[in-house]
Symmetry: D2
Subunit: 283 residues, 4 copies
Amino acid sequence: MSNVGKKTGRERGEEWWQTDIIEMRPGVIRLRGYEIQDLIGRVSFPAMIWLMLRGELPGKEQAALLGIALGAAVDHGPQAPSIAIARMAATCGVGINSAMASAINVLGDVHGGAGEQALAFYGDIAAALDAGVTLADAVASRLDRIFAEEKSYVPGLGHRFHPVDPRAPRLIELTRDFAARGIISGRFADIAEAVEADVTRRKGKKIPLNIDGATAVLYGELGFPPPLTRGLFVLSRSVGILAHAWEQSQQSGRNKGPLPREWLWAYTGTPVRPFPQGDDDSK
Amino acid sequence: MSNVGKKTGRERGEEWWQTDIIEMRPGVIRLRGYEIQDLIGRVSFPAMIWLMLRGELPGKEQAALLGIALGAAVDHGPQAPSIAIARMAATCGVGINSAMASAINVLGDVHGGAGEQALAFYGDIAAALDAGVTLADAVASRLDRIFAEEKSYVPGLGHRFHPVDPRAPRLIELTRDFAARGIISGRFADIAEAVEADVTRRKGKKIPLNIDGATAVLYGELGFPPPLTRGLFVLSRSVGILAHAWEQSQQSGRNKGPLPREWLWAYTGTPVRPFPQGDDDSK
Amino acid sequence: MSNVGKKTGRERGEEWWQTDIIEMRPGVIRLRGYEIQDLIGRVSFPAMIWLMLRGELPGKEQAALLGIALGAAVDHGPQAPSIAIARMAATCGVGINSAMASAINVLGDVHGGAGEQALAFYGDIAAALDAGVTLADAVASRLDRIFAEEKSYVPGLGHRFHPVDPRAPRLIELTRDFAARGIISGRFADIAEAVEADVTRRKGKKIPLNIDGATAVLYGELGFPPPLTRGLFVLSRSVGILAHAWEQSQQSGRNKGPLPREWLWAYTGTPVRPFPQGDDDSK
Amino acid sequence: MSNVGKKTGRERGEEWWQTDIIEMRPGVIRLRGYEIQDLIGRVSFPAMIWLMLRGELPGKEQAALLGIALGAAVDHGPQAPSIAIARMAATCGVGINSAMASAINVLGDVHGGAGEQALAFYGDIAAALDAGVTLADAVASRLDRIFAEEKSYVPGLGHRFHPVDPRAPRLIELTRDFAARGIISGRFADIAEAVEADVTRRKGKKIPLNIDGATAVLYGELGFPPPLTRGLFVLSRSVGILAHAWEQSQQSGRNKGPLPREWLWAYTGTPVRPFPQGDDDSK
């Protein structure tokens, strides 16, 4: 970059768009240094996702675990805003890509960010472990901080609908299995379970691990940074979004609203009033 | 463009992005040839919209009529997918711009395109008038074509909810008023009323002009091409979208679904079944 | 809400969607209590925006000042990501609504949030004034806090491109004019100018008010809360986004990229390497 | 549905949202009839995608081929509007979900629809085969129709950048391999190669199969309907979109425009002109 002044305009333009991800020339496409034709048919789809995001190929079992996490969160039904929006959009005369975009767009801090928050929370505890603190002390200290902040919930625990989310124990079971086979360490599963146990002691009742906590465990074991896991959740939920948009588009509705067509909404505002005469712009 | 080979890379790059709309240099911003500081405070917001889209300043009364059309379609309540999506998105932890984007995105051919279709339809009749056909014949001939195509509806007429949409007669009244004052010709109002009358004769009952037909009349009178009127509808409905997103964001909900929280949806698919053992990937 | 158990399901559904903004029945549309037909033709487009967002009609001059703020920020050219995205999207085979949505969506904290931040900053100073602090002290104290936080910039001041943004002095001039006529107080203009002056003293050079600071002054004078001004910016910039999407769609390009078609990007990643044999999934 | 009048409001509301995809009760999540915990860890991610979209589990090899198609199209670099938009959006202060949404949104008829068009084209030929026409005749007849329509291109053939797209021959090689193993029929590969050969004869030069044609072959072999393959392309390209948005977000840019920061665009509109005095609204 030191000789900017000597670069041609084309070089300057081409440097404006820099990437470590893809190299291309006529007849050549390379992803992370691999010829695309060497990758096609040799890596699974989750392995391709891993390579694109992290720059190196995963082991086959790592890729399998990533695929498990991606498969677990594909759908939570039309009461989820993302799924409802996909279905409504599909009746409005836009392409399936646009129906998906409107839906994916709402996977924000509240709808899509719980796993990211859980992983960041577990990561704080992992950092304390690295510094030599015991698991019990690391968990207790981090929870003390949460309750001191008067947060109403602990990331990764509890669900407003499911007493026990059926995905969570299955994901932890698989994590333990992969750890037993030496593919991952199992450390994040330890952390999540210790958090669950400590909160049970404090509250006097069990608030079980939810899907966000369980996928955070998997992503933590695999070494993904928290903000990137929101992107992984988008890839996962996109599957359900597509399935629902597609199903809706096969039906005949137009401009599908949230409630049955002949229902309205409750108006709670100012009662009807006359237009103030003095404000009339039309004179 | 003949001397491409002699252009510098920077010139080539700068030509890649060409526009008639805005010229800029440090300290200078010009829109359609006018210094921005000469426009600010001298043109109304609708006049600025007109200038940006059409390249020339409108007359003051033309701008007023554009403002009337833009103001008329700002909202149709939360049963409209666009408004429901704006409200749901606002509870998902995204910025107000993203809540608006998810909503605006669904103003597609079905949700946002009716006015465009009505104006194209009126434009066909206007073209016949230009060719010397009488109004009655031009309308009848165009309607014959619609009914021959077995379309189920005539663009701009009828509403699934309102027996008479209160916006439509008021907009036509204003169009007549502006025409009487010589600002517009009134031709599209004539066309729309002739269509309404002919359809009444054919059907034996009146299917009144709706908001899409009425705004198509205004946009036609003002000379906007049909596809651009979808963009104008987006500008108009964006106001309601913003108002609803904002109102919702002032409340406390999180991940607002389409139905009351404790309701679900009807599952109509395959009854519960065991996982086929032979397909187990995990072995 | 106390008798939820006695409500019918339909009532519960209709209450799930509550709003103070719009009331509807067949043949009736009311916005904020006014019949829509009473508003159409009597209020300007900015007055309609005000009514929708704030619940009451503005004075005519207040609406005019809102229109001025909305008109000032419509465009900043194709180097702005929002405008470039609108143009690129318009070449990809999506509707004009979707081209607009992709563009509006990026008016986030960085691209669309500077005015909001400037208004929040001025609001802190206004609160100090309300508490009896002098303007000079309130400004100095707030700036002390900014520089203590080692923020690299003061909201509303300076522009990477324009030595003086031509919009800003014109908007302040108009604010002073409206204040002289008693429509607004002029207090936010005082605050912005005091901030500019204090920073000039601290830095030894003038960093002039930019468009975000200037529109924040107008919105502050008119009483809009900071987060809502991001929405107003979206309404404003949507005009330029539409104009550029429309202009682009009149041309013939397909899949317009950011650089001239025959240019590429700089690849800065891992050099080409063979696919590791042991990782081959295809065997 | 015959006894609508006897249904409770809650039943009516829950029926408004109907789906064959997901069934849920507290503690229970079923996808297409399978308990979610039975699927997790037993099906690959592509198999989950297949199940969600088509209602039944694929064979393991079918899922593998779907994964191959999904992996092949993840990225085509920052000259693709989708990738450039993802990177620009990532610098604007929005969440990674919103950066992805703005990008996915532009995978419309032009940017994302080529594979869908190729598959529909191949499907026409397959229908002729089903009716007993020979492959050569079916292809010739369909191409005659294309050239009679004076379309400038044949779906699935040719690339503006790659003389031979390295992905296409590799995908066809794999298709042949899967067909040899009896997993698919190979019929769509036959069709695509016959089209390529016929066009070569007509044009006197080879216009090779491109990525859209090659993935259309795979999706056709697997029995996906054309419009759904656009959705599959969205799932695939989302990976590259996420990778680029993530890479960009790790860098420090703000409001990244399409060209180097100090470059502008070419203004090609009306030269600077004075504001017409008579149009001044401010008096």
